[in-house]
Amino acid sequence: MSEFALHVEGLEAGYEPGLPIVRNASLTVTPGEIVAILGPNGAGKSSLVKAVAGLVPISKGSVWLHGRDITKTPAHRMVFEGLAFVPQTENVFINLSVAENLELAAAIVQAKRQSALEPVYAMFPDLLRQSSLLAGQLSGGQRQMLAVARALIAKPRLLILDEPSAGLSPLLVGQVFAKLREVRASGITVLLVEQNVKSALALADRAVVLVEGRERIVGRSEDLLNDERVAALYLGRHTGKQAAGEQA
């Protein structure tokens, strides 16, 4: 399993005992790739990544990160294992300034302030200009950038993002996804949950389609773009390229 950046095996997870949201889900992510988790609303996509990040209790199965079993690792220890998670909403501390958000993340992992912040500011120059602003004053796109920057401070090996395009305009989605390509280029593996199928498949190397808590379709992004089963899962009666296009 050590050849995988992330290996999830037969995972069952949920907030209430006996009521799993994720059921028997398995997933592999190889180092350096971008993998998208797709699926209709309520498919358990967010719960799956939250379970991997330690935020949703796991009742069965296992999670391995670069060959280390992290199934029982608490959420606050994940950054020290090399896993960073960016939640879908409320993903920055709005009562702290941009600089404080980043400095706090650096201090937690006991990184030297300058050496931790410099590469992040180099990747997100807008954040340097807005460093004294409260994070709550940033626009949706800027907050998403700050959330990604905050996650990168810990120098993770795997970055997990829960719907990074949620609530953003198509232009901002393009900017966020461009940054994710840069993140991958820096050697970090990326796993993201997305509703925006077309953009996600354009970004990812591979995708997993999740339905009712289980993975149903796994394949390379370019193959899934034209896969009628994907369109059918999203829109029910529609199929083919038309359906995929509408969803996107």
Binding site: G54, V79, L104, A105, A107, I108
Partner: protein, 305 residues
């Protein structure tokens, strides 16, 4: 008028110190801790017991320091009371609240009622119900402003000590929360516990710090209340409603909100005592609370999400 304001500010500083701890428990531990007032009472009595013991060990410590009504014995006892009250708060969490945390906030609130009753009656059993004082010496108030100007202003050196040290404590806490990693972690956890966890903040460490700081501030407030008014085993429950009023008025989770809320409650009580009588003391604070909440439902400094 000046005297009413000064009395209000002194009482307000005591309420503010207690309210900060209560506000932190509300925003970080996420429940209304009705036993917080008892920590003030325990802090006051622990300092009394410690100062009595220290003064007996060394009579030089009992001698008044400068113009104050107390000696070095009480100063050292204040530090000791801070440590012991902080440990008491932490022990309450470990023995009671930590075990019930998964049951939800209602269970914690009910448990805190039980803890308050137990703490208050233990104190009553240990120290008796007779009001106590740190010093039997009568302190003469200094005339700061003559009676011809705004009715005059007279304050005792102890009152100036209380007001000054309260401001020092609040400023120190502000700097700690603003600049230290633990302080920032506490602010982050108060706002968004899930994000704090994925950032790498250990929630148990933050909770421990919250109880310890709340205990320290409660002890200081309790000693100050004992120094400027008197000590009774029921002093905690008597201060509890003003503490809650100050927290809600200032906005849950805001340190400066709790401080301002404390001062407003203290001033309201002081004005009410002078204008309509001491029996309307608490009512006045709550009238102000209702009026401000009608204008700002989240309180003066409440976070807007």
């Amino acid at each position: 008028m000046l005297q009413i304001m000064a009395d209000g500010l002194i009482m307000g500083s005591i309420i503010a110190l207690g309210a900060i701890g209560l506000s932190m428990t509300l925003s970080i531990v996420r429940f209304s801790n009705f036993s917080h007032g008892e920590l003030l009472g325990w802090g006051a009595y622990l300092a009394l017991v410690a100062s009595t013991a220290l003064n007996a060990m060394n009579t030089a410590w009992a001698a008044n320091v400068g113009p104050f009504s107390f000696g070095w014995g009480l100063m050292l006892s204040l530090l000791l009371a801070c440590v012991l009250t902080a440990l008491l708060a932490l022990a309450l969490d470990r023995i009671l609240f930590k075990r019930l945390r998964k049951q939800g906030s209602i269970t914690l609130v009910i448990a805190s009622f039980g803890a308050a009753l137990a703490l208050r009656n233990l104190l009553l059993f240990w120290q008796g119900g007779i009001p106590r004082y740190y010093s039997e010496n009568l302190q003469i108030a200094m005339v700061l402003v003559p009676r011809s100007v705004g009715g005059g202003l007279r304050v005792t050196p102890d009152q100036i000590f209380v007001l000054t040290l309260a401001l020092v404590a609040v400023t120190g806490l502000h700097l700690f929360l603003r600049h230290s990693t633990l302080g920032r972690s506490m602010r982050a956890t108060a706002l968004n516990p899930a994000l704090a966890r994925v950032t790498g903040i250990d929630p148990e460490r933050v909770l421990r710090a919250t109880w310890l700081i709340g205990g320290v501030l409660a002890a200081i407030a309790g000693v100050f209340a004992g120094l400027t008014v008197q000590m009774r085993p029921t002093m905690g429950v008597d201060l509890l409603l003003p503490l809650f009023a100050a927290v809600i008025l200032g906005g849950v989770g805001s340190i400066w909100g709790a401080v301002l809320g404390g001062f407003i409650v203290g001033l309201s009580e002081s004005v009410a005592v002078t204008l309509v009588g001491a029996e309307y003391r608490s009512a006045a604070a709550f009238v102000v609370l209702i009026a401000i909440l009608m204008l700002r439902p989240r309180g003066l400094f409440g976070e807007t999400h």
